[in-house]
């Protein structure tokens, strides 16, 4: 441990909780926001349903400074670590009230529409809908459903909740809302914390929140074996489910938020969340927008980062199959040294990535689309907020009726996300025609030996992988009848 880091010890975690400023000089890296609220502060309105970020009963809002403004997003308190709230405003259900001190319009609409039965999921729904109400005063049904992908209700069948969400929008009142009224004050308080490092311990466990990315590089040089925590949508479960120690932990989710579009490439900071990348991808690759919105629920998309999704090396990965197909590269940094590699080369084997100790993913570089034809597909038992059984990205270039380049990558088919060389070979140099894709659909069976598990059998995975090539052709060739399910509600 270097002196420079030692000198930085015991700088408290500072954040706002509802109306209160919190200063924590002692905390463990695995302390969750949920336990802090319920056990530490007696704020029991926020519930624990699953402790893994899938049910949304623990939904709270986290406000943070972003692009000079203050944004509030719903997140899962059960897998959000307290240390990562340094410089944030944590808002729990107890803070919510109407302008007159009574029920908030979202709460009133929930009562009016009989939208609670057992009531246990209800505070989480209210918080997710509160976040939606602030940003989308007049949401569509699809926007409501998308906002609620991270909230499970077992009683109501959701119909009254959706109706309440639509009605709350009609009730209005955003300008008079407490979080709007307090905005300037909160912003000032958060600015005072912004850019500071936090470094706290409990016993021999330690959590460091670097001040900036250079600080992150320094901390990791000094603690090369540290657990890097970004959105914690995976590391959170190491703690809550596997009871695995993560100390020392270095928090990076608030860093590397840059997003720049250059002539040839889109450069995305590793700390950019799914929610932040979705509109950018929608602009540049409109074909994949719905794919990104099928990753996690809203809370997960607000927390999970692109860098974390890559660095944790999942065999499924959600984003990596698409990114590999798009020819993405990543910049790895250690200290001040950087190297850029093709993303597909980062995944060496199941559980093994090309990342040295002390090194971290800093930037993801995606070549722009140009004339390529792009698609992303996945199958899962449930359409939304379910990890893929099979995921795939396609990037096919056609010139003069002939396929001149093809990159097709899969997740869920092997120990790592990876390309399908036989299928690509069956495409390249061939006419852009149904028979070619039929050939690739057959060829892909030779590229992978998938496993059978609880998500899908090997047979199903193989069948779907082949059918994705058929779908790609059908989508490209057009026709009278739809080739995809229309999940949107007509409005």
């Amino acid at each position: 441990m270097s002196d420079s880091v030692n000198q930085q010890q015991s700088q408290p975690i500072r954040f706002l909780l509802n109306q209160t400023e919190v200063v924590l000089t002692e905390a463990g890296p695995g302390d969750t926001v949920l336990d802090f609220l319920r056990l530490g502060r007696g704020l029991t309105g926020t519930k624990e349903g699953c402790a893994e970020g899938d049910c949304g009963a623990c939904t709270v809002l986290v406000g943070r400074l972003h692009d000079g403004g203050l944004v509030y997003e719903p997140i899962n308190a059960c897998i959000r670590f307290l240390a990562s709230c340094h410089g944030c405003h944590v808002v729990s259900i107890e803070h919510l009230r109407g302008a007159d001190g009574g029920l908030h319009p979202v709460q009133q609409a929930m009562v009016d529409h009989h939208a609670s039965q057992c009531g246990f999921c209800t505070p989480g729904f209210v918080m997710a809908l509160y976040a939606l109400w602030m940003t989308h005063p007049h949401p569509t049904v699809v926007q409501v459903e998308t906002a609620l992908q991270g909230n499970l209700c077992r009683c109501t069948g959701y119909e009254p909740i959706v109706k309440a969400a639509l009605a709350a929008g009609r009730a209005g009142g955003q300008a008079r809302d407490a979080l709007m009224q307090e905005r300037a004050e909160v912003t000032a308080k958060l600015r005072a914390i912004a850019g500071s490092r936090a470094d706290v311990s409990r016993g021999d466990e330690r959590a460091i929140v670097p001040a900036d990315v250079d600080d992150l590089a320094r901390v990791l040089t000094d603690h090369p074996q540290a657990t890097i925590v970004a959105g914690a949508t995976d590391v959170g479960l190491w703690v809550t489910k596997l009871l695995r120690p993560i100390s020392p932990a270095v928090f990076a989710g608030h860093l590397m938020k840059d997003l720049t579009v250059e002539d040839d490439d889109i450069r995305i900071g590793a700390g950019v969340t799914y929610s932040e990348i979705a509109p950018v991808l929608a602009d540049h690759f409109p074909e994949v927008e719905d794919y990104v919105l099928r990753i996690g629920g809203w809370q997960i998309r607000n927390a999970g980062t692109l860098g974390g999704n890559i660095a944790n090396g999942s065999p499924i990965g959600e984003m990596p199959p698409l990114l590999i197909a798009l020819g993405a590269r990543i910049v790895l940094r250690r200290g001040d040294a950087r190297r850029e590699i093709a993303l597909e080369d980062f995944f060496i084997d199941y559980g093994k990535q090309d990342r040295a100790q002390g090194e971290f993913v800093e930037t993801i570089v995606i070549p722009r689309k140009g004339t390529a034809r792009v698609a992303a597909y996945k199958v899962s038992k449930r359409a939304n907020a379910d990890i893929s059984a099979v995921a795939a990205g396609f990037r096919v270039v056609v010139e003069g009726g002939v396929i001149t380049d093809a990159r097709v990558a899969f997740g869920g088919m092997a120990g790592t996300p990876r390309r399908a060389p036989s299928a690509e070979a069956a495409l390249i140099g061939q006419p852009f025609a149904a028979d070619t894709f039929e050939g690739a659909a057959r060829a892909v069976a030779g590229d992978f030996t998938p496993l059978s598990d609880w998500r899908a059998s090997a047979d199903y995975r193989r069948a779907v992988a082949g059918n994705f090539f058929r779908r790609f052709w059908l989508e490209q060739s057009g026709g009278d009848m739809p080739v995809r399910l229309n999940r949107a509600v007509g409005e």
């Binding site: 029991t44 309105g45 926020t46 519930k47 349903g49 402790a51 893994e52 899938d54 259900i93 919510l96 029920l103 979202v106 709460q107 929930m110 009562v111 009989h114 609670s116 039965q117 057992c118 009531g119 246990f120 999921c121 209800t122 505070p123 459903e145 609620l148 992908q149 909230n151 499970l152 209700c153 077992r154 009683c155 109501t156 069948g157 959701y158 009254p160 479960l237 489910k241 009871l243 199958v379 038992k381 449930r382 359409a383 059984a389 598990d453 609880w454 199903y460 069948a463 779907v464 059918n467 058929r470 779908r471 026709g479 009278d480 009848m481 739809p482 080739v483 995809r484 399910l485 509600v489």
Partner: protein, 781 residues
């Protein structure tokens, strides 16, 4: 005495003003101020317990090394079977096969074998995984058919028989034999299992928990502690969902907390993590059913035989009653002229399956609907036409020899067919699929309209009783308690309405507090959809006793006749004199009139002889129907529900908003059972879908894109139930079958509807795609 209305009369009442009463806790729900057990402020010095679970599905414990557990930080104690002062058993049917802690042999992966008691929950949980247990592996029996072949039963099965089905099958012009695989289901109540035990004086202990059956918890805790039932008080303010999963499953958690609390004389809370909750507690039974149906060329059913093989898990629990109920619903709404159906409750090395909304009924109904599909595809007809041809007519006998006397499905189905435009939409679906056939379209459509008829009453007749306690305080405010528990179904709201209406006061004047064994004894589980039927009548009985005393008092003091007294809103009229209700109460108090009453109710008419397979197990039937239309992606097997229309019978609804909520919620939950919710065990008997990351219940975006739900507002219960309403908790669960069959219809289109798609449940995208491929290849299921 003149009532302003007879609450059991089939006439509209001024209670209509109460009909949209919101859930009694709605404001608390939305503000986070509704307290669940885990939210209660703990007494000073409270401890936390955590269960240690077996890591093999079947094995003999050679040795158990708990040293590392005992010395872990914060650990106070480790409890094993040896620490149980009374009986090591929580079998709800007194089979002595459901240990709190396994002693020598573990029977499923995840079975509790010990508990850690520590200063914090986190410490207890971390310590619990440090145990070193050495097992001798024993042979595994994991699925129902293996258990059948091994002759491994938890309890004897039942046979329902009428007529000569073998001869009728042999004589039938057509016959189909088939097998259906029906998956189980996790309850996924949002609030998990939880118990808080607070020790009292002498042998007393008070439990705060989240159970549907406080009385059973009381007895189990007394049994485990070796104390009389009067030493144990069990309190339930509300549950965060139950669905049957907290009917018997909470017993073990409460016993462990109570044992620890009494041993250390400190409050002890026990709350498993979601994964452990899903691994260690029972679920809906999965079944394999072999059926045979004989029918004529028009599709009229002549005979049915069937065998229901159920995976019950390692112990009996409620499996006998669950598998019985599967047979009670093996007919759904159809008359089987000659019939034999048999249940086989099989013992397996898996968690002991338990009650779940419908209680086996759905696994009976879905086979009846499969039989309809078989006939329809075999005869080239619309499934709805086959259904209508086989509905019960008045007075026909069920397989258990109870006549069906309140059949309203023809009217209900007729209305739904019209309101959802079934015929035209079915033609459009067929047209769509024909165009897909012609053009290589990959999206197929399917539509189905399916009914449900569901028998209401506990089939164990003695459970059909209830008690209530009503106090009027001298200021006129009313305290209400009854034996039912609130799990979100709106029971407390409805009973408050009943009491408010009885006295003709506002609902705000009636306070309902926690369900507690101290106030109403010997209650039945809040289950079998019976909560309102039973407790509503008991509460009404209590109200009527007090009202009778008030009337007698007024007659005496005002020299009036009972017919001259009327309960007006917040007032009582005696001839021309109108007195405030609170004034009447106060005066009665001063005159030493008892203002408290215990009410009671026992369901009339019902009886059941299981050995003979005859009787009247059900007081009445509840009915409903749904029409679902789906789109299916034949490249992946994924689907969306384009539209669902529901018309459901709740008799005369006490609270249409609450009843509609039950119907909508049940529809989506039933759809989840048959679509995305898959319990997946590996070959070592380990459940691998034990958290919401792997076990997928429906989301908002999975509900029907268009969802029209209506109550049959003309329906009146033919029996004298509370306000002539009908039970609503379970029956609409089976409306989800419409989605399942619609998916099958879309699948069948790839082979020209010539073959029954024989989808297995749940119809995950994988099963759908594989069915598509199978039908295209023309291979048998």
């Amino acid at each position: 005495m003149k009532h302003d209305h007879d609450i059991t009369a089939a006439t509209p009442t001024l209670a209509e003003t109460l009909a949209e009463t919101p859930h009694e806790s709605a404001t608390k729900h939305v503000t986070g101020r509704a307290d669940y057990t885990d939210d209660l402020v703990l007494p000073e010095g409270a401890l936390h317990a955590y269960l240690g679970l077996s890591t093999v599905a079947h094995g003999r414990i050679r040795s158990m090394d708990l040293d590392a557990v005992r010395v872990a930080p914060g650990v106070i104690d480790v409890l094993t079977a040896a620490d149980i002062p009374g009986h090591n058993d929580v079998s709800p049917v007194q089979k002595e096969d459901d240990p709190i802690f396994a002693e020598s042999e573990v029977m499923f992966h995840g079975q509790p074998i010990f508990a850690v008691v520590a200063e914090t929950r986190d410490q207890a949980r971390r310590a619990a995984v440090l145990a070193k247990v050495d097992y001798e592996d024993l042979p595994l029996v994991l699925d129902p058919l293996s258990a059948r072949d091994a002759g491994s039963f938890v309890q004897p099965g039942m046979t329902l028989r009428r007529g000569e089905p073998e001869a009728a099958l042999a004589a039938a012009p057509r016959r189909i034999d088939g097998r259906m695989v029906i998956g189980g289901q996790d309850h996924f109540y949002l609030e998990g299992q939880i118990a808080l035990a607070i020790p009292g004086e002498d042998d007393e202990v008070t439990i705060f928990t989240s159970t549907q059956h406080p009385t059973e918890v009381q007895h189990m805790v007394a049994h485990a502690l070796g104390v009389p039932a009067h030493a144990v008080v069990v309190n339930v303010r509300r549950m965060g969902g139950g669905f049957g999963g907290k009917e018997t499953q909470m017993n073990l958690f409460c016993c462990v907390a109570a044992i620890a609390a009494k041993k250390w004389h400190r409050a002890v809370k026990l709350r498993p993590d979601r994964d452990d909750d899903m691994i260690a507690t029972g679920k809906r039974h999965d079944f394999v059913t072999d059926y045979a149906v004989g029918f004529d060329h028009q599709g009229k059913i002549l005979a049915v035989t069937g065998d229901w093989y159920a995976r019950c898990g390692f112990s009996a629990d409620l499996s006998m009653a669950v598998t019985d109920r599967a047979l009670f619903h093996a007919d759904n709404a159809y008359f089987y002229p000659d019939v034999q159906v048999r249940s086989h409750p099989l013992r397996t090395n898996t968690v002991s399956n338990t009650a779940f909304r419908g209680f086996g009924g759905p696994q009976g109904v879905i086979v009846a609907e499969r039989i309809i599909e078989e006939i329809a595809y075999a005869t080239g007809q619309d499934t709805l036409a086959v259904r209508k041809a086989n509905f019960y007519t008045h007075g026909q006998l069920t397989p258990y020899h109870q006549p069906v006397e309140d059949m309203i499905l023809p009217q209900l189905i007729g209305e739904l067919e019209g309101s959802c435009d079934y015929a035209a939409r079915r033609r459009a679906v067929l047209d769509w699929n024909a165009r897909a056939d012609a053009s290589g379209g990959v999206i197929r459509r399917g539509i189905a309209l399916t009914p449900v008829k569901f028998g209401i009453s506990f089939t164990a007749t003695h459970f059909n009783q209830a008690g209530a306690l009503v106090h009027i305080y001298s200021d006129g405010s009313i305290m209400l308690n009854h034996g039912g528990t609130e799990m979100g179904q709106g029971l407390h709201t409805k009973i408050v309405q009943v009491v408010a209406e009885a006295f003709n006061v506002g609902v705000e004047q009636v306070r309902i507090t926690k369900t507690t064994t101290e106030k109403v004894p010997n209650t039945s589980a809040t289950a079998a959809s019976s909560g309102t039927d039973l407790n509503g009548m008991a509460a009404l009985d209590a109200c009527n006793q007090i009202k009778a005393r008030l009337v007698a008092f007024l007659c005496e003091t005002k020299d009036a006749e009972p017919g001259e007294i009327e309960f007006l809103r917040d007032h009582v009229r005696v001839r021309d004199e109108v007195i405030a209700f609170s004034k009447v109460v106060q005066t009665a108090y001063l005159a030493r009139v008892q203002l408290s009453a215990a009410g009671f109710y026992a369901t009339p008419k019902i009886h059941w002889n299981r050995a003979a397979g005859r009787g009247r197990p059900f007081y009445y039937f509840a009915y409903g129907a749904a029409c679902a239309e789906v789109s299916v992606d034949t490249l992946t097997g994924e689907y969306v529900i384009e539209r669902a229309d529901v018309l459901h019978d709740v008799g005369r609804s006490i609270n249409p908003a609450i009843d509609k909520g039950q119907v909508e919620g049940a529809f989506v939950q039933g759809t989840g059972w048959l679509t995305s919710e898959e319990l997946w065990w590996d070959d070592k008997g380990r459940l691998r879908t034990h958290a919401p990351s792997t076990y997928k219940i429906p989301l908002a975006s999975d509900r029907p894109k268009v969802f029209n739900v209506a109550l049959a507002d003309w329906s009146v219960n033919a029996e004298r139930t509370i306000k002539r309403s009908k039970a609503v908790g379970e029956p609409p669960f089976m409306l989800g079958i419409s989605v399942f069959e619609a998916i099958g219809h879309a699948v069948a289109s790839v082979a020209g509807y010539r073959e029954c798609p024989r989808l297995g449940a749940p119809a995950t995208p994988e099963r759908v795609l594989m069915a598509v491929e199978r039908l295209r290849a023309g291979t048998a299921a």
